[in-house]
Symmetry: C2
Subunit: 104 residues, 2 copies
Amino acid sequence: MTHRAAPEHTHPDKVPLITALDALGDPVRLQLVRELAASREWTRSCGSFDVPVRKAALSHHFSVLRAAGLVEQRDDGPKRVNRLRREEFDERFPGLLALVLRGD
Amino acid sequence: MTHRAAPEHTHPDKVPLITALDALGDPVRLQLVRELAASREWTRSCGSFDVPVRKAALSHHFSVLRAAGLVEQRDDGPKRVNRLRREEFDERFPGLLALVLRGD
DNA sequence: GGGAGTGTACGACCCGCATCGAACAGTCGG
DNA sequence: CCGACTGTTCGATGCGGGTCGTACACTCCC
């Protein structure tokens, strides 16, 4: 046994607007979302992102992104791979994700 | 003479996305924007908003909103009246304001 | 001119958050 | 079974942002 505890997710439907704005209002998390959006689903492990923070902080940021309904995670061997919740999040906050990914 | 110094404004065009998200990611400022959106332009003075902070903090929040290109201010006698920059801001960040004003 | 009203500037305080290092848990491959 | 790798958790730290009180500037009206 000894399964790893599944990460706690929050569906975008239950996310207050201010939580979403707050989650996206951080440079590191914004970068994570953008980089994740540019990758195929379930291909990026947490440590594979180009952000200037150590893994402890990184783990924290992913926790915030999960709580904001932006990211879904799944265990894949020793790694934890990620997926951007495009459709669900966009249905809850139409256009917000598009705005974030619109570069500039 | 002794004109009052005109408040410093930033046009939405020059506002980075993260600045806008950060400005809207605060409960007090979110309330200010919403309340302002529900009023006719140039009718609300800074002190006329129903927020649980004193005027020093209030002044700070309006400074942030100006810097984010969300609010325009004009001196009207002893008061300083406000206007939500709907069109300009929406052109810069399409849909974001709508999202904020969509209540829920 | 004086007083009331409005908003800004300044300094101080404080709480929260982002960060880190280290220790731990789980997984896989040799 | 042991070591390398990945990510979480914990406690500690530092700093930035939100808040306040006070003092100040400006405007209007009496």
